[in-house]
């Protein structure tokens, strides 16, 4: 089992989609929202995702395929 902590950024239509609900139904993962701020056309969620490593990655890849941006909690790590 692994636990990943990620920041999801939603823009446009993706804001209206029940993405986190679907994560827990379509994949064998447990999601846990820790912080969030959602406006009508933009929002972010700090999320904990727990599951088998492969399944967790498959789930996050699916989220990304919806146009949701996924970042590490620490923001961009690659610095100039």
């Amino acid at each position: 089992m692994v636990t990943k902590r990620v920041r999801l950024t939603f823009e446009g239509e993706a804001v209206k989609e029940p993405v986190i609900y679907k994560m827990g139904h379509a994949f064998q993962v447990v999601t846990n929202i820790r912080m969030a701020d959602v406006e009508h056309d933009f929002g972010w969620v700090i999320l904990e995702v727990e599951g088998e490593a492969e399944e967790t990655q498959r789930c996050l890849d699916w989220v990304e395929s919806l146009g949701v941006r996924i970042d590490p909690l620490a923001g961009d790590i690659v610095e100039g």
Binding site: E11, P72, L73, I77, G80
Partner: protein, 411 residues
């Protein structure tokens, strides 16, 4: 002994012991070092600081490191230059340039890495790591060499060879990751969780970021123990901006200077300006962007401290401004021509941002202002080479020289 007492969550206030962690266990908010200010008040005096070494370590009482662990490359106490020529060109009364190109690896990153590497030694790490395309990697590799630590530097696979020379010379292990910048971000984030390594801007980030406060300390001391009225700071993650203000405020809190307002203006390249854009839109919700700018050292599309930078602007009556790539190149030339200081592209953002802030009346030209130049120009020669006049070609004769010299309108 350090006066650092604990880590405090910047979101929920949760307090934990000093450890190599960046995120709060409870809310995942970022952690920040806190100090025993009551004890510091009795210990830190102007005289004690002035009697210290000419480096950031003169402020060791205010840093989260015990003296025996210090990794000392002689970082900091860089020149604060009164820039009258540039001030005249911009119509300003009192302009100062804080010239951090004088650091051992020619950028302000030496300040943050000096503190991170020292604290890493105190935590008994044997490996210092980072992901970087330039300045940060240079500094991590140099400090690890000095400290006898192993260095591991992650770079995107398509980074030009010339960009890694300044790191490779110190003999770190360099890992070129086959993937996008986002892939490198993810990999390093996972490795920081899985390995007992000090990733300077991940698990030891709370200590790393504290090093930027020394810029605020130095400016105040070099101005004769007074705070500037306005600061112009380039922004990438936003941490430097926030910490310079924090450093100045702490000196007032400790009674070393009078408490006076300091207006904080942050500058970003127009091609990567998530913080300045949020400020202009009047929101604290930062929208991540894909960087597209020549100011690579500021190319952070998803800034970790963006929210706090916006809060600092709000608190100080400051603002966020931007500079286009053309303005950046022009500003590098202006600074060099007026003051003899060759800055990298981030310095171009500072000077172009200064001019734009004046044009937009966000800065008062009558008030004392410090502009921060955070890296040396030899790091980004390619950005300006096309904008410079070619040499005047002559034969090896006096007449050829006289003709060509006169034809070029040179004096």
């Amino acid at each position: 002994m350090s006066f650092a007492t604990s880590l405090l969550c910047r979101e929920c206030g949760n307090e934990t012991e000093l450890a190599p962690v960046n995120a709060c266990d409870f809310c995942f908010g970022p952690m920040e070092v806190t100090y025993d200010y009551a004890a510091l008040r009795g210990r830190v005096t102007r005289e004690r600081i002035e009697g210290g070494p000419k480096s950031i370590w003169r402020y060791i009482d205010l840093l989260p490191v015990d003296g025996e662990f210090v990794v000392d490359l002689g970082v900091g106490f860089t020149p604060l230059v009164r820039a009258d020529n540039l001030a005249r060109r911009l119509g300003m009364r009192e302009l100062w340039i804080k010239n951090d190109t004088h650091n051992p690896t020619w950028s302000f990153k030496d300040r943050v890495v000096a503190v991170a590497s020292s604290r890493a030694r105190q935590f008994e790490f044997d490996t210092l790591a980072c992901a970087s395309t330039g300045n940060l990697a240079n500094s991590v590799a140099a400090h690890a060499a000095r400290a006898g630590l192993r260095a591991v530097v992650f770079i995107p696979h398509d980074l030009e060879v010339g960009k890694i020379v300044g790191s490779a010379v110190y003999r770190p292990t360099i890992i070129a990751v086959d993937g996008s910048y986002d892939d490198v971000n993810r990999l390093c984030s996972e490795l920081a969780d899985n390995r007992w390594w000090a990733f300077v801007n991940i698990n030891v980030r709370p200590y790393y970021a504290e090093g930027s406060r020394t810029l605020g300390f130095e400016v105040v001391e070099q101005l004769g123990w007074r705070a500037p009225e306005q600061c112009l700071v380039p922004m990438a993650s936003g941490a430097l901006f926030v910490k310079i203000h924090k450093g100045i405020s702490e000196l007032a809190q400790l009674g070393l200077i009078e408490e006076t307002p300091v207006k904080m203006i942050g500058a970003q390249a127009a091609g990567c300006s998530p913080i300045s854009t949020a400020w202009a839109a009047g929101t604290t919700n930062i929208r991540p962007v894909k960087p597209a700018t020549i100011a690579k050292s500021l190319a952070i599309g998803n800034p970790a401290d963006g929210f706090y930078a916006l809060k600092t602007m709000e608190q100080t009556g400051g603002a966020g401004v931007t500079a286009t790539d053309a303005e950046i190149v022009e500003a590098i030339g202006l600074l060099a021509e007026c003051e003899g200081i060759f800055a990298e592209t981030a310095g171009g953002v500072t000077i172009a941002g200064l001019r734009n802030a004046l044009d937009q009346e966000l800065l008062d030209p009558e008030r004392s202002t410090v502009a921060f130049i955070t890296g040396g120009g030899l790091k980004t020669v390619e950005a300006v080479e096309g904008a410079l006049a070619p040499p005047i070609a002559v034969d090896a004769s006096v007449s050829s020289f006289e003709d060509a010299y006169a034809a070029a309108g040179a004096r």
